[in-house]
Symmetry: C2
Subunit: 215 residues, 2 copies
C-alpha cells in the first residue's frame, strides 16, 4: 500500500488524493503541515530535498515528488492515462501548462489569501499579477473546453485532475468564474464522477487509522 505524505489543504496534495480515490487505490495518508514547518525537518528533507508535499513512497525508502509526476505514476495502465502517443502528449501538455500558468498564480493566491493570516497584506504587490495571469490561464482553458468535455483524449485523464486541483479553489481566492461557463461545467462534470472526493474530505478511515498506528 502506498504511503502518501500530504497536506489536507494543499491543492497539489489533493490532486493525488483525488486520483487515488477515482482509481479506488488504497493508501496511507501521513499529514504534513507545511505551515508548521513539518516539510522542513531534517527527517522530511531526507525524503524530499525540495521540501514539498505531496510525496509518494513508491518503494521501500524510494520517494516520488511533484504532484503531476505522481499522477502519471499511479495512473499508468488505468483509463486515466491515455495509451496513444499523441493523446498522452496532449495530456502532458496541459499538465505542464498547469504547473507554469495556473498553479503559480491561483495556487499562490490561494496560499496567501486563504491559508496564511495576513497574507493578503504581505503580498499585495504580487496579487495583481496573480489575478491577471490566473485569468489568462482560465481563458485558455475556457476556449479549449468550449467545444470539449475534457482536456485531452476525449475522456477524463490525469490532465483534468491536475487542472481541477487549483481551478476548483479559484472562487475561494477572489477569482470570479461567472465569465467561464465551460470551465464551470467541466468542474461539475468532475464533481459528479462516481468515486469523487472533495478536498476537505478526509482519507478513508482505514488509511487514517493505519497512519496513526504508523506514526
Amino acid at each position: 500500500m502506498y504511503n502518501l505524505y500530504t497536506m489536507q489543504r494543499s491543492g497539489n496534495s489533493y490532486k493525488v488524493r483525488l486520483a487515488l480515490a477515482l482509481l479506488d487505490v488504497p493508501y496511507r495518508a501521513i499529514e504534513i503541515d507545511i505551515l508548521q514547518g513539518e516539510s522542513r525537518t531534517p527527517e522530511f528533507l531526507a525524503k524530499n530535498p525540495n521540501g514539498q508535499v505531496p510525496l509518494l513512497e513508491v518503494a521501500d525508502g524510494r520517494y516520488l515528488a511533484e504532484s503531476n509526476a505522481i499522477l502519471w505514476y499511479v495512473a499508468i495502465g488505468t483509463p486515466l492515462a491515455p495509451e496513444n502517443r499523441l493523446d498522452r502528449a496532449d495530456a502532458m501538455q496541459w499538465m505542464f501548462f498547469e504547473q507554469h500558468a495556473l498553479e503559480p498564480n491561483i495556487g499562490a493566491a490561494y496560499f496567501w489569501l486563504s491559508l496564511v493570516r495576513g497574507g493578503r497584506e504581505l503580498h499585495s504587490y504580487s496579487l495583481e499579477d496573480w489575478m491577471e495571469r490566473g485569468y489568462r490561464a482560465l481563458q485558455v482553458m475556457e476556449n479549449h473546453l468550449a467545444t470539449r468535455d475534457y482536456f485531452a483524449a476525449g475522456q477524463l485523464t490525469v490532465a483534468d485532475i491536475a487542472l481541477f486541483g487549483y481551478t476548483h479553489l479559484a472562487e475561494q481566492c477572489d477569482y470570479d468564474l461567472s465569465g467561464f461557463p465551460a470551465v464551470r461545467a467541466w468542474l461539475g462534470r468532475i464533481e459528479r464522477e462516481p468515486r469523487f472526493v472533495a478536498m476537505n474530505q478526509l482519507p478513508p478511515a482505514e488509511a487514517v487509522a493505519a497512519t496513526a498506528a504508523a506514526g
Copy 2:
C-alpha cells in the same frame, strides 16, 4: 519532417532544438519573434491558443505545445526517454520541478534582463524574488548532482535537456554559479555530448532553406 515553431533566443525553444539535434532528427524551423508580437497573431493563435513557442506540428494541422511535453513526444522510443516506470516518473518529476521552480525564475530573469531593453528597471520589484527562488532551485539541483552524473535513470534523459535550457543561461542574468560545482560539471557534461548544439547555433542549413521555401 517536423515543423517546429521556435524563437532562437528562447530557452524553452532551445530545449526542443537541442533534443532534436542530439537525436539527429531533421526538422524545419519556423522563427517566431515573440518580442515582435509574432506569437499573438490570429494565425499563430489558431495553432496555439496559449500564444507560446515552442510549438511542434506533430501531424497535418495538429500541434503540440509546452517544451517538456514536446521533449517527451520526440524522445519516446529513444535512449533519452527511460522505459522503466519509476525511472520515467523520476525524469518527469524533474521536468515538473523545472517548470515551476526553475523556469519561472531564471526564465523570467533571462527574459527581462537579457531580452527586453529596460526590463531590469521595469521588474526591479520582482528581481529579488526571482534570484532567491532561482538560487533555491539551483541548490536542490546541486544537492542531487553531488552524487550523480544525470538527473534520472543514471543516464542522459529529457529531464537533463529540460533543466539545461535555463540553467545554462543563469550566468547571463546575474546568477553566480561558482557555488554550484556539481551543476557546472553537469552543464559541461551535456555540452560535450557528440551532437550538442549551442543555443545561438542556427538550425541545420537544409532546415532553414526548407523554411524559407515553405514561408
